[in-house]
Amino acid sequence: MLALKLAYRNLMGAKLRTWLNMIVLSMAFLVIIWNKGLLNGWDQQARRDTIDWEIGGGVYWQENYDPYDPYTIEDSHGRMSDVTLKAVEDGKLTPILIAQASIYPEGRVQSVSMRGIDPAQALLDLPANKLTGDNSSVPAMIGQRAARNFKLNVGDYVTVRWRDVNGTFDAKEMQIVHIFKTNVSTIDARVVWVPLADLQEMMQMPTETTLLVTSQEAGFQGSIPGWIFKDHYFLLTEIREMIEMKSVSGQVMFLILMSLAMLAIFDTQVLSIFRRQKEIGTHIALGMTQRQVVALFTIEGAMHAVLAAILAALYGFPLLYLQAKSGWSMPEGTDDFGMTIADIVYPSYSLGLVVGTTLIVLITTTIVSYLPARRISKMNPTDAIRGKIQ
């Protein structure tokens, strides 16, 4: 207790030096918590959006389907069995047929992934019910990214050219009936959605599909011959890896900030021990052991972290709260890189994050404070009282 009191008095006595250390350290605290919170928020939003818009409770892939190998798309389709069709009818599955095509907005040829979805499906947030129109053209909907890239608006007609199951060219007019907004770029960029029945007819693939998306409630529904089930862990790998990668870059920033703060504390400790030799000698002369003096200086150093945590809480709490409420606007075009990311990411802070960060900073500061203090144990007390430089 005495050590704590002495440490506190000494720190307060150092005035500006202590405040500077506390401010730097408290900023390190905040940046770490904010950065981690932002990544947590992004992770949660991206997962939620991907599940709601694209993968539901998991997806059955036709056995030839590989989204990373465009050569497989032509062969990635299979006929749905009666059991599968019944599950589709019951709302446990929704089929998505994928075909490659070219569209000609303003006479420019553009490769697209044409995807057929049932307009009656309610399993995904994708507004498939908008896919209605007259019979003169194929009703199509695209996302905002595709609309921006292709310069298409609602009501526009665009020619689509594709090859049917035999490889013969066919072409038709498509009308853009809806433009949707989603954070999931994989269902938006260069993707054109049309009614499933239309695409099946265009491709001459009746009752065939590439994907079977399961409902969030139903999830895995046993094995389906010809299809392979992909669960959330597999389908969300990209998001997980991206967040992990971002987390590493966040840790680099954390390391730099912590190094600066620790350097300041280390310097403060070295200076204190150098300047307060007479005080150290007096403590020992009054009966304190050298280990107790080392502990006193270590506590003094470590107390920087405690005071910094209090300071960070004072000005950081309202700042972080405000950030969690208003969110962080992502730069324009970030979602064009194929990442699932919202325009505004809302940071998510957990108790574990705050406690964990506080502990890490406290332990690091204690270690950094202890290292220069070890020198005290090697001091000659009489020389220390005389203030002789050792």
Binding site: P70, Y71, T72, I73, E74, Q100, S102, Y104, E106, G107, R108, V109, S111, T159, R161, R163, D164, N166, G167, T168, F169, D170, A171, K172
Partner: protein, 244 residues
């Protein structure tokens, strides 16, 4: 006997008012165009919406299913090579020093920015083997009397479901061609603007391809030099030749 057979063969053409069948015309077009071995130097001018690009290439062609093309100009494309072996197409880029197989959706893309897709390059079967033709009349195209033929695919796996060809009655060469989608939509047109005679066959010298769905001004294709029955070493049609 030989003379009699020849006379009987050309009799339908000599008799006024006799219209050859679509199949006969297609066969003669095929005979004219399809050759054993040939090497050719050609120029391709892509007329874009803003500017035109000119490319020169040398090709070695064997029958209908093997070809090797090396781009000679411009400097940016020099050294780019393409190899077609049956239904497979490979492309070598000197910039990356890599060979890639062009398949799937990439086949649908424009070849070197032209109005031709890689898929068009892959179309190698004879017309007579893949289409049934009906002669629907005759028209004058570029001052030449032509048969007008409507072609409908007889096999399922062809690029274009139907075609319309204007065939020079004398030279048996399609001077103009419209290519249609299954829905009947016009997809591409080809027009031969200049022809030349080499040995006994008439061959196109200057052609214009136009993708009717895009707004470009078409792609001009000019055959600068051609040699039929040329000796082509076997190694040319191998992937190893792409990196040489």
């Amino acid at each position: 006997m030989k003379k009699i057979i020849i006379v009987l063969a050309i009799l339908p053409w000599l008799l006024p008012g006799q219209t050859p069948t679509g199949s006969e015309i297609l066969q003669q077009i095929d005979d004219n165009i399809i050759a054993g071995n040939r090497t050719a130097t050609s120029t391709m001018i892509v007329h874009g919406r803003r500017a035109s690009r000119t490319m020169t290439a040398k090709s070695w062609i064997q029958g209908t299913d093997q070809s090797f093309t090396e781009y000679l100009a411009p400097a940016r494309e020099r050294g780019t090579k393409m190899l077609k072996l049956g239904d497979q197409l490979w492309m070598y880029s000197p910039q990356s020093d890599r060979t890639i197989r062009i398949a799937g959706h990439m086949l649908r893309q424009s070849m070197m920015g032209s109005d031709l897709s890689y898929e068009d390059m892959m179309e190698d079967r004879s017309l007579n083997a893949t289409y049934s033709a009906t002669v629907i009349g005759s028209e004058i195209i570029r001052d030449r009397d032509c048969w007008v033929l409507e072609l409908v695919a007889t096999v399922e796996d062809v690029n274009y479901h139907s075609r319309k060809i204007w065939v020079d009655k004398e030279r048996m060469l399609g001077l103009k061609e419209d290519l249609f989608a299954k829905s009947g939509k016009l997809l591409k047109t080809t027009e031969i603007q200049e022809v030349f005679k080499i040995d006994d066959r008439w061959y196109p010298r200057r052609m214009i391809f136009k993708d009717q769905l895009s707004k470009g001004k078409g792609t001009e294709f000019i055959i600068d030099e051609i040699e039929f029955d040329a000796h082509i070493p076997d190694y040319i049609f191998s992937k190893a030749a792409l990196k040489k």
